[in-house]
Symmetry: C2
Subunit: 427 residues, 2 copies
Amino acid sequence: MRGAGPGSPAALHQMNQAHVLGAVRRADLLRLGEIAELTGLSRPTVVAALDELCEAGWVCYADDGPPGRQRVGRPARVVRFRSEAGFVVGIDVGAHTTEVVIANLDGAPVATAHQSTAEAHDRTQLLSVIRATVHDALARSQISRSSVMSVAVGSPGIVNLDERTVVHAPSLPGWASINLAKELRSSFRAPVLVENDVNLAVLAECWRGAASPTKNVVFVLWGERVGAGIFIEGRLHRGHGGAAGELGYLSVLEPDGEAAADHDGLGPFERAVGSRAIVAMARAEASRRPTRTSRLAVTSPELDALEVFRAADAGDRAARRVVDAVIARFARGLAPLLLLLDPDMVVIGGRLAGAGDAMFDALRAGVHRLCLVNTQIERSLLGEDAVAIGAVRLALSDVEERLLPRVESTGPPRWAPTVEHRAEARA
Amino acid sequence: MRGAGPGSPAALHQMNQAHVLGAVRRADLLRLGEIAELTGLSRPTVVAALDELCEAGWVCYADDGPPGRQRVGRPARVVRFRSEAGFVVGIDVGAHTTEVVIANLDGAPVATAHQSTAEAHDRTQLLSVIRATVHDALARSQISRSSVMSVAVGSPGIVNLDERTVVHAPSLPGWASINLAKELRSSFRAPVLVENDVNLAVLAECWRGAASPTKNVVFVLWGERVGAGIFIEGRLHRGHGGAAGELGYLSVLEPDGEAAADHDGLGPFERAVGSRAIVAMARAEASRRPTRTSRLAVTSPELDALEVFRAADAGDRAARRVVDAVIARFARGLAPLLLLLDPDMVVIGGRLAGAGDAMFDALRAGVHRLCLVNTQIERSLLGEDAVAIGAVRLALSDVEERLLPRVESTGPPRWAPTVEHRAEARA
């Protein structure tokens, strides 16, 4: 152990290699001199590290062809990271749709696929849909399963990282206690990570969305379900049992507080401001004053909550009353988030974030009245893709963690994505 | 710069010295061989580092007298950290009392002093009380100002670390916008840090209180004021503008949410569950049923909220009704904290944490009904001293940060507490 302690030759060797790889990855193209300058390493050390990284396939000299073990002559001095050296798969499993995004090691999407999960009535059917959607995306991109280096899945519910199970997911039938990593591991040689979907959405918004590159961000999902993903000091805050951000279970209506128990798989705040609540409120409002004309097709079984916002914007008074009440309730649920966390920014996503700017202005006014500071409140930039993009980000982080090994580890860096026990420990 | 980069001789020298000092500080007494084993450094490297650390006064050989520049003969091989090499001062400024704790570099208190601030009607009078209390504590301990290495002050209100001002402190007259670090710097040669008092309380409970050594903890102050200090992954969460944890401004009573504006320096939640509210509720309850006998001396101008809890425990029905209502409200304010953060533990401190176990049991039941997981809720172990002890912890961290220099810094370690610009940057 002593030989690999801080300052030992083995640790320095690895650290130097990781520094070089990190510098190359962060830039498009780099000359040797630039790498030496960025890393503070000597030119010979940089050359030695690059030789090993080329051999492993992670970088190449820009005028090289595909990397081979034998190169003829002196290579060019411009180096690039081989973002095509491997791929990651991001999966968003939802009650309505499963979305798969395949991305290269720069995080650029190379293929996507969607399938409906509305007809999946149990976990076997849901797993089949997931596998078929992944198969579809891989086929479209002509990427082989063996070049997939990491897979991340976003699921509704509370995810227990230690036991690798989805603990509490009332919105998906048969999903409680499922060990998703184990179920999907047979489909890949790569590690499979599982994370709460809203947690992935905040990761995505901080990476490439409305909050990039902010460090203290709350993402609020607003649709049928309501939940928060919390990012503190650039890290996901999961909580003691992975149950942080359970905004949907907040009670804002009952004077004594409504018990957090589920009804139809929804918590008190979801039942107060979620899409189903909005549709029910619109129908109740219309039936209360049946003589008034309303633009809302309130008798349609397909009435969408977003239409209620649009009707309000268009001047429909019944819709306006519903929207005003909903925004006041929603502000009451957001206020504790802001008072307690004082984030740099709140990003609102999910289907109802598709409402117009008037809704956002009213929401800001409602929230700020209840708070001490006027926190920035923004609309999600990634929309329905936020969870899958966040899953890509998580899978990339997993690859990077193995690609840029820690100084403490003693063995040689493990480039290959076959370190199953790591995935088990994390997923 | 390159000469001091990662792996350079200068950086390694500093890092080795810091490793040795860290190892010695964490243990009571260490032999050279143990230090070598703990740090992974060679014996000659350890000896060289120890010689420099002895010379600077930070460690000594256990059979040495006070450290001097000249030692005769070969020193003994057992080394200890000189916790008496310097002292820190922790100050808790409150609307009722100012408390000062002086501690050595192990954090062991060597003197304390209190003075009432109730008669201080403006900032000049308040600053005089603070200075006099510090003077008192120093005189009792016979510690000279020159051996004070860092000072930390806990203040009510939102503290802006960048501008080093207390931004919002309605409970202290004339305190808003005060630059406390600047005001107190003339009293010390040492850096002066300023932090929100509830933030210091959570630091203290995680260090030596009910939450030690938990990493995700919320401390809830419950007295005339109500506030939360949030500790996430072992770090204080201050928020975008230092306004995290403003639980006192939560609205739980008004159906549409009560605006966060102050009344008498208190926020909506403080007006619903703080000591003043409890006393007012007890008086109203007693006047509503004047024929009933009550153990509460409700006409006394000195009625204390804690007496209401004690009367309820003793069977007084009027007091019981008040306590039940207060606990239900308090649970509604704590529930968002738990649903959003899912901490490892909630610690309740402040004057009302002095209520009996029955209150804690009722509070746990009330909170858990509104939440998904049964978070541990505990009584503060440090009581009224939490803020001053947290200030000691903050001052120690400041000393440690300068004592254990970062690897990136290029110059020699700066042991002396004269780096004023650092304190300015932080305080």
